[in-house]
């Protein structure tokens, strides 16, 4: 596939190669974020203190188990962006919003809206449907506000659907972890056996389907709205609204009694090990498939952008077509470095890694520097040439002793 062809298909390129931090004291959105986070942080601390008092051992065990969920999920989401990872401060800021602000505010709002459902539909209906009729609307709104604030703080960082997914999923991940601590201690009894049971039900059996996916999708909706300014406003609103609505519907289905195949009554541990994941899969897998497809499409779009951005450098001293083919796929980059390490040692693999990063940076720079002779572009090409020479030298020196 030629880069020229891709340049046409890629459409308008994003402005990559901007690294904005969460800490933007000149942005009013930053201060709103801080005030809300600190205010709700006090509520969240009080909540955690009361959970710890209810069951100290269960509370500690909950956090230890959830760390086992948090760390790999964080890495998977963070590393999804193959070319320009989001600034860590913004990613952590999104996680903190979900864990602190969204959960605390949702605790207040869910309770009050639950009372409204009970008044309108009666307590019997409320007992069955409140979770479905309140939480999806309340929680998805509160979480998506986090993505909007991150965007308002650092507008240059939300430049594609994948970025929206990353920030949204991080908000959802923070939310899921804190909500699960509440469930493990408050609903599953808080004793170690109950906490382990809760971990099985809510994380091992259904941890792939929840808040991370919902908020990831709403984040994509926000990203679509703010980046596709080439589209009509009505179309932007329609598509962003449809993505947010899909997340709310998935959350609604999960919380509702519809398609509820979760087992009740006394079951043997073996039966539970089979029945609970199956019941969770019935509700969760279709939405998981939808989100995986959308993320796949978003990654393909970023690959086209990279090809289009790098097209002007192909055949020059900084980038060849073969190198671009490797750069496009993280797995190929990793495989190339592994081969290099085997062939020429660790130092050469490190140099190849640096070369790949510099080449990606060059492509990113081209998205915002239209002049081929811009000093930043020239300097970056120069750095690539130097790294390439160092890499050649490293591979030669690794062969010489063997030849001798």
């Amino acid at each position: 596939m030629s880069a020229e062809v891709d340049a046409g298909r890629a459409g308008r390129l994003p402005r990559w190669a901007c690294r904005a931090s969460l800490f933007q004291p000149r942005e009013p959105a930053f201060w709103l974020y801080v005030v809300l986070l600190v205010g709700t942080g006090l509520l969240a601390l009080g909540e955690q203190r009361s959970l710890r008092e209810m069951s100290p051992s269960g509370w500690v065990l909950s956090w230890v188990l959830l760390a086992l969920y948090l760390v790999p999920m964080f890495l998977v989401v963070y590393l999804l962006d193959a070319y320009e990872r989001e600034p860590l401060s913004l990613v952590v800021g999104a996680l903190a919003w979900g864990a602190v602000a969204a959960t605390s505010l949702a605790g207040l709002a869910n309770h009050d809206w639950g009372a409204v459902v009970a008044r309108l539909g009666g307590p019997d209906l409320a007992a069955q449907w409140t979770a479905a009729l309140t939480a999806p609307f309340v929680e998805e709104t509160l979480k998506v506000v986090g993505v909007v604030l991150i965007y308002l703080i650092a507008r240059s960082e939300l430049n594609g659907l994948l970025d929206g997914f990353v920030y949204g999923a991080m908000v959802g991940l923070g939310f899921a972890v804190v909500e699960n601590v509440f469930y493990f201690v408050g609903q599953f009894g808080g004793q170690p056996a109950g906490v382990l049971g809760g971990f099985f039900v809510r994380v091992l059996a259904s941890g792939l389907y929840g808040h991370v996916l919902y908020s990831g999708l709403t984040g994509m909706g926000i990203a679509w709205f703010v980046t596709r300014t080439d589209q009509r406003l009505s179309r932007r609103l329609l598509i962003a609204g449809a993505l947010c609505l899909a997340a709310v519907l998935a959350h609604f289905l999960w919380n509702s009694p519809l398609l509820n195949l979760f087992p009740t009554g006394d079951l043997s541990p073996v039966q539970q090990l089979v029945a609970i994941p199956l019941a969770a899969a019935v509700k969760g897998v279709p939405f998981l498939v939808l989100v995986v497809l959308l993320v796949g499409l978003a990654r393909r779009q970023e690959r086209r952008w990279l090809e289009a951005a790098a097209a002007g450098e192909l055949g020059g001293p900084a980038l060849s077509a073969e190198e671009l083919a490797v750069l496009e796929r993280p797995r190929r980059r990793w495989a190339a470095r592994r081969v290099m390490r085997r062939r020429a040692g660790r130092r050469a693999a490190g140099l190849l890694r640096r070369l790949q990063r510099q080449q990606l940076s060059l492509a990113m720079l081209r998205t915002r520097l239209p002049d081929d002779h811009d000093p930043d572009l020239v300097g970056q090409r120069q750095r690539i040439i130097q790294t390439r020479e160092a890499l050649h030298a490293a591979t030669r020196s690794s062969k010489e002793p063997r030849a001798a």
């Binding site: 639950g114 409320a126 309340v138 650092a154 240059s156």
Partner: protein, 200 residues
């Protein structure tokens, strides 16, 4: 902890860049924030506002001399012996008047011995008594309970809350109950009706 936090802030600030400052308060920076605040207010406070608007207290029902209660919309009152039963199908609140001057904790204890224990199997009570203050200034005590109760020929698991309030001339025991999965959604109404009751 503070040191770790400040180091993290410093690290992010150093590694990542501040955006070029945009001098001046352009409306484009404030308008989205106003929208965010509006959405947050609607979601977080809207439920409370709607709940208050929907719970309209009706005219007071005189239970006995010195004891009256105001049923919220959706609740019907039925006279039952000396007292009054307020119900909306899934949940009930019984108001039982007694003589004034008693200690609320003693009243609560007597209610457990004379009413709850004889009718319940596997009765469990919350630990300790919670002090409650009614709108009229009276002080009472409250505890929660759960158990299986016999009634109308069958045993039914129920969850409930008893509030005992005593004034100088009259006292009352408020007993609210519903099925355990439903009681959570009755509690707000029940507590509001007890809160606005007049005793003494």
């Amino acid at each position: 902890m503070l040191w770790v936090g400040s180091r993290l802030v410093w690290y992010f600030h150093r590694v990542e860049e501040r955006q070029p400052s945009r001098v001046g308060a352009r409306p484009g920076r404030w308008r989205p924030l106003a929208g965010v605040l509006l959405v947050l207010a609607a979601v977080v406070l809207g439920g409370r506002v709607a709940d208050s608007a929907l719970s309209v207290p009706g005219p007071p029902v005189q239970v006995a001399a010195g004891v009256s209660v105001r049923p919220l919309s959706g609740w019907r009152s039925v006279r039952q012996g000396q007292g009054v039963l307020l119900t909306r199908g899934s949940g009930s609140l019984s108001v039982l008047p007694t003589d004034g001057g008693a200690d609320p904790a003693t009243l609560a204890g007597e209610y457990v011995r004379q009413v709850l224990q004889p009718n319940a199997q596997g009765l469990s009570l919350s630990q300790g008594l919670q002090t409650v203050h009614l709108g009229g200034g009276q002080v009472g005590v409250r505890f929660a309970y759960q158990g299986t109760f016999r009634g109308q020929g069958r045993a039914t698991p129920l969850q409930g809350e008893v509030t005992a309030v005593a004034g100088p001339r009259a006292a009352a025991v408020f007993d609210a109950w519903a099925a355990p999965e439903v009681y959570e959604y009755e509690r707000a109404d029940v507590q509001e009706m007890v809160q606005t009751a007049e005793v003494g």
